[in-house]
Symmetry: none
Subunit: 538 residues, 2 copies
């Protein structure tokens, strides 16, 4: 029979962050979280949003009930489940009934296509498995639903027994499945095999083909692209590649590769620029840190460190960037590090609106100082706020909010009792002398507490600032307990976050330096209005 | 002319963790760190280790000087640099001279092959660039070195002007380059282009071809494999994919894909099982957290969460695993149970000759305690001396060398003066009361000094013990200065070295715990003879 299928001129993005993504270690989403993420995905313009497995838990069922009344602009909501159980009619299977009851217009069911899995995991016969697929698809189609068949382990199945794997997906197609989605469930398929096998199946099937791949071989993005090159027109994946083990195919990398490089439309063109924001939003909701080195959307994706790179970038950004960061809503950053030359520092200072000039003697002195600090172990690339404070100070913009008189810290342990830490700070703000003391569960915590206590009545913006991260790195570890340490502190308020650094052989001093910079930066950015008066007197 | 080149029957792994890897944001390595990592890479069996750029900073030059006297088993050490400057003879270029002076047997220089880069970044003529390449390679070959030519931006260059890109690498080949390494410097090349262009160049060149790719498109692993499929025989990459922006090609994923799936030998076969350990070791030295979801080597790479997956796994692990975790030295984890931990503990205790038995109530209690400590953040895999002390103590073998009365630590800073740290320790050894004080350049150093002062006359073996390493890792960094820290201390005497651990929200307490364990372990192993008398009274 001749194959006459409508030619699809775009790629359909099927997002499974809310279902397969939550199988990732440490990823857990409430119903509220899921609804928020789904709304964002719809705004991004994906074609399908898989909301969960309504047969498996009440949380997922609630999602579908609430999703029904939401105004979806681009996306169709899909419910996920399994084919019916061996020996059971599809119409009597509680899992399939739950899918129908979910009210989702699209239903995706997975079934076995690898003979080994049919016998070893499902523990039934190859023939019964085909009956299961046919019966399940037919039942769902009779309910008037759009039905996708996720062919679990298809690529492994094809390698083991191509005849049976084909038979299984043909059974799904003949029973009316709207899409056949070939899955690399164990995530170990190589790109060359992905291309060849998908190509073969696109020729074999009349229904449009999708691919759903996992990242165990660190190849999920490439494998998804290979699927499209072979003629598939749907990609199932997750935002930021969340998923079990090594994750699912990362849509944040797949979408720009397809749309910007392969000219395959998968989102409304203007929406590709929403990707970075979406990636960060989903990470925020899932409460996991987004990796800096993520392709396209990571904080470092367009961050340049090498001095030679930066000097070329100043001439033309195309020299060291594969796309313009704005195309995916990201931005260029120039890092300041020992590897970099003068160019990075000048670039940075200009960004801050400071009057720098390579040839100027003052500028040269400032750069010399920075290099000297770097030589001592300061590292500004993770502490941009310290760098800004340093530059502004060098250019004469020092707010000097107080004068330190003394810090004294007593750490004590008596026989079997716990360690205690107590900090005392004496300082002058304007013409007032403030002398406070505080305890903490460690020495740095005690100093932090005492400093806040001393300053908060004069600088109320501190009430909105919280330390959210504290890192310690020992430099030249071979000097053991006499070694220098570098401390990095991250501070956050309701609208911003900033990082600062300190270096010393004394961890308390290093922490103190970072705390001071954090305070000064906060004052610079968020403390101006309420403290104009203080600043003039201080 | 007919192409007659020796057929290479293996893939040469060229590691650039120590050079390109350190371009990654947040990656910074001391000379000591670099030497340690290089030793591990050699043990792993890579063919080349790029140590740094000797012309760019004194740290890298020191690496090469020290590397010369080390016993390399598998790897050749390579120094990295650039072709000579426009208008300058290669023999007069300071950068090329530094490469020769480094004493490295292999030199890798990068040069321009993209016409746009020649004019926009290098700001010279296309003809002068060819002269630069020829002159630089010839000069290095005259010094008797193995020379690699890293063709920067080759793939972008080939797309823009294939004729010139080819001319540039042919110039390198004709001048005697031993390898031509095609670089995807901006990391945006698609796998299909990678395959086609590399294939074309393998046909064009007589010299063996390598590939060096970046991960901006999230495709670096696939692109490296495409290079090999196209006939390249060298891959340049980094451990854990460290590198600028989105990183370099990740060798920890490339190696098992090549060796276990494509049957291309790149390491001695038995060494592939060292990969997980190597990945963790390098992350530890670089002091960055290894991502759990890393392919092959991540903590979650073989971690199963889905109930259905786990039940199938119990029937046959092949159902949801693409390879056996042991092949890369990793292990299966089932996220609902922690049974694997027990076996390790029992195994370890038996190794120490302790009388353990899984069914025994005492043993169960001890295992419970250890699990509890691990839950609190203790980690014994890098601190086996602490683990041994802990086990021996649990089995009633506690030397109890002294009774602590008190520790008191005062850290002070007065206005602009330096921070000072002073520790006072009071303890009883036998029936003697010892009360000492000492200063240090930081609080931990002060405690360490005071403790030694208190104990050395009773335990002279301490005179031969030195702290050689001190590491701090913040656990749950989000708790900021109130977070727990884990301290690792390494102690060494003339014949042995051992590592101990402490965990607390108070860094002084954590350090104290690690110091105590170090002392007790030292006493156990090296203090027996001279202290028999003390031990009976203590």
């Amino acid at each position: 029979m001749e194959k006459e299928v409508p030619r699809l001129d775009r790629v359909f993005i099927y997002d499974t962050t809310l279902r397969d993504g939550t199988q990732g270690e440490g990823i857990s989403l409430s119903v509220e979280d899921k609804l928020k993420i789904a709304a964002r995905l719809d705004q991004l313009g994906v074609a399908y949003i898989e909301g969960g497995w309504p047969g498996s838990n009440p949380k997922d069922m609630e999602f579908f009930l609430r999703a029904k009344s939401m105004p979806w602009k681009h996306a169709k909501i899909a419910a996920f489940g399994a084919t019916c159980r061996p020996g059971l009619k599809a119409s009597e299977d509680a899992n399939l009934q739950a899918l129908v009851q979910s009210g989702a217009p699209v239903v995706t069911i997975f079934g076995k296509t690898w003979d080994f899995h049919v016998t070893a995991a499902l523990r039934t016969t190859l023939e019964e498995n085909l009956r299961i697929i046919r019966d399940s698809i037919s039942f769902l189609k009779e309910q008037g639903l759009e039905v996708m068949f996720d062919a679990e382990h298809f690529y492994d199945g094809y390698k083991a027994n191509p005849q049976y794997a084909k038979e299984a997906v043909l059974a799904a197609e003949q029973s009316g499945a709207d899409w056949i989605v070939l899955c690399d469930t164990n995530g170990g398929t190589l790109p060359q095999d992905m291309l060849a096998i998908t190509q073969e199946m696109v020729f074999t099937l009349r229904a449009p083909v999708g691919v759903h791949v996992h990242n165990d071989g660190d190849l999920a993005v490439a494998n998804s692209l290979m699927g499209i090159m072979a003629g598939a027109r749907q990609i199932q994946g997750t935002i930021n590649g969340y998923g079990e083990r090594c994750g699912n195919a990362n849509l944040c990398s797949i979408i720009p590769n397809l749309q910007l490089k392969m000219n395959m439309e998968c989102l409304p063109a203007q929406n590709v620029a929403l990707l970075t924001e979406t990636a960060h939003y989903v990470a925020e909701i899932a409460n996991v840190t987004l990796r800096n080195d993520m392709g396209f959307v990571g904080h470092s994706a367009f961050a340049h460190k090498g001095g030679m790179h930066v000097s070329a970038l100043l001439k033309d950004p195309g020299t060291y960037e594969h796309i313009e960061p704005e195309q995916v809503g990201n931005q260029r950053r120039v890092l300041v590090s020992e590897l970099s030359g003068m160019s990075n520092i000048v670039y940075k200072a200009k960004e801050l609106g400071l009057d720098v000039n390579r040839e100027n003697a003052d500028t040269k002195q400032i750069i010399e100082n920075i290099k000297n600090l770097e030589h001592q172990g300061f590292q500004f690339e993770g502490a941009e706020a310290s760098f800004e404070v340093l530059l502004r100070r060098a250019f004469g913009e020092d707010p000097v909010p107080f004068v330190l008189d003394s810090i004294r810290l007593i750490i004590e342990k008596r026989s079997d009792a716990e360690f205690t830490s107590e900090a005392m700070i004496k300082l002058r703000v304007g013409d007032q002398v403030v002398h406070t003391a505080a305890e903490g569960n460690g020495p740095v915590n005690a100093v932090d507490n005492a400093l806040r206590k001393a300053l908060i009545s004069h600088y109320p913006f501190l009430g909105d600032c919280h330390l959210t991260d504290y890192k310690v790195r020992v430099l030249d570890e071979k000097d053991a307990t006499g070694a220098k340490v570098r401390v990095l502190i991250e501070t956050r308020n309701h609208q911003d976050s900033w990082s600062t650094v300190g270096v010393s052989a004394n961890i308390i001093e290093a922490s103190w330096q970072a705390l001071m910079d954090s305070f000064q930066y906060g004052l610079l950015k968020h403390g101006r209005v309420e403290n104009d008066q203080m600043e003039t007197t201080a």
